[in-house]
Amino acid sequence: MNAPSNLPANRVYNYAYLDEQTKRMIRRSILKAIAIPGYQVPFGSREMPVPYGWGTGGIQVTASIIGPDDVYKCIDQGADDTTNAVSIRRFFARVADVATTEQTEEATIIQTRHRIPEAPLQEGQIMVYQVPQPEPLRGLEPRETETRAMHAYEEYGLQYLSLYESVAAYGRIAGGAGYPVLVDERYLMSPSPIPKFDNPKLHQSEALHLFGAGREKRIYAVPPHTDVRSLDFEDYPFEIQSWDEVCALCNCDSSYKDEVILDDDGNRMFVCSDSAYCGERRKQGHSGPLAGHALDQLDQPEDAE
């Protein structure tokens, strides 16, 4: 993934936006993160042309690993066609001369905020996550010195406080997104705000998962074939969300669903949050109860640039 030597003479920015020294620094952090699965490696996060919170960590990670042969996919809330996803995809198409796709299977780098795609990840693929808060213990322990000591000494009892609170309040472990996991039975890790529905996909995954937190200046990773265990109680085992409804458009009964309010009368529908997966199923002829709905018409693949 080296920068190509034949750069266009009129290019304003370096290949993939970041200068080569910065990319090298970030790659070193990434290598260390891969070597110590789940451990948060500090890195010198740069100012990016988007505000913090819009994915600066993920963009820097992508910029450091991308090459012209890559095929790039970017999703936000599972969809390829949301504003942020479209903007970031265009950004890399322009500064890194890469092909883009919405097909999970075709992509070599998939940048995401909230989801892991429904289609199984394969060897050679890299997931890049935009992470708002890399420290799973932060909500319970405000002191960085203390959370670092807890990671160093593997003192993770504190994390169970959040699970306790959840069971006490709701009778079950609620916590929809950013559900804490133990990586390789050693480091406690926040999987970024993916729904816990996606947590099992991290376990023994074929793909490499890289997490970048731009504002918090941390990078961490789950290498392929690594154990990832979601925390739970003996009497309240981990479980993922499920829906009674099928996808209104593609009839899928196993995917992660978004609820869409249709009108002021409380009518609503559930659709796959992974838009590419849903579109692919519809192409294959699957049809849900609301197929042909106006939303179905809107949800057409974006024209390639």
Binding site: L140, Y153, Y164, A169, D235
Partner: protein, 265 residues
């Protein structure tokens, strides 16, 4: 009430030898030596700035002394200088065998999680992973410290000062420590609340047979709770002995001043 036999009671739990702690040129603790037996309650009295809290922070592993030794008889390591152990081992001793009650309950509680979770936390810290069991123990401790069971899922900030302090005490006893450090545990409370707390602490400490080190500037608190007293002035221990003997027949001038300064009702 007390289930421990005299032989166990005689066992040494903590030995402090020639402890010094200075902050630059200022000597906060100077050549402090004492020992503590299992089940014994030691009071540390003295005026503000006499080095009481610094001493407590040193012997509870939070501050490294400039000189001297703090030997603690732990389950894992036996009698051992806690500062010769790794930080990891020291933290484990603190987690498994100690409690630390702060003067201000806000320093000793997690204000963002419920009272019940605060009480159950030491169990989770020590590897317990069964919600139902921890919930039951938490409820049990709410009862023992006379807190309303209906408030177990409320955040500590909705509790009064006295309730917060009882919550803190429950949280520091639930994991069956052998030693509890208390820094002015009745400090900010009004008198009636203080009496209730004192009574409760005394009963709990006796029932569980645990040792306690209580820092206080309140001679009355020291008399009611402590078996033995250390009197500190300017970082030195100027007098130590049986509580009633130190208070009724003080030998050192400073102790005499301290005792004679107590307001009589």
């Amino acid at each position: 009430m007390s289930m421990i036999t005299p032989i166990e009671r005689d066992e040494q739990l903590l030995v402090v030898e020639g402890l010094d702690k200075s902050f630059g040129p200022i000597g906060a603790c100077r050549d402090v030596s004492f020992e503590l037996r299992r089940g014994e309650i030691l009071g540390i009295v003295g005026e503000s700035g006499s080095g009481k809290t610094t001493l407590l922070r040193c012997i509870s592993g939070q501050l490294e002394p400039t000189g001297g030794q703090v030997l603690f008889n732990s389950r894992r390591h036996g009698m051992h200088d806690i500062f010769a152990l790794s930080e990891q081992d020291r933290r484990r001793i603190a987690r498994e065998e100690w409690g630390y009650v702060h003067q201000n309950p806000r320093d000793g509680l997690r204000m963002r999680v419920s009272g019940g979770a605060n009480v159950a936390e030491p169990l989770m810290m020590n590897g317990r992973r069964h919600y139902g069991e921890m919930r039951e123990q938490s409820l049990n401790w709410f009862e023992r410290v006379e807190l309303d069971l209906g408030r177990i899922d409320n955040k500590p900030r909705t509790f009064s000062g006295g309730m917060q302090q009882r919550l803190q005490i429950a949280r520091n006893l639930i994991h069956n420590p052998s030693l509890v450090f208390m820094d002015e545990p009745t400090g900010g409370l009004d008198v009636s609340v203080q009496a209730r707390l004192l009574d409760l602490m005394r009963v709990l400490v006796r029932e569980m047979g645990l040792a306690a080190i209580i820092v206080t500037h309140d001679i009355g608190v020291a008399r009611l709770l402590a078996d033995r007293l250390l009197v500190m002035k300017s970082g030195f221990v100027v007098e130590q002995g049986l509580t009633d003997q130190v208070l009724d027949d003080p030998q050192h001038g400073y102790t005499q001043l301290l005792v004679s300064s107590v307001l009589q009702i």
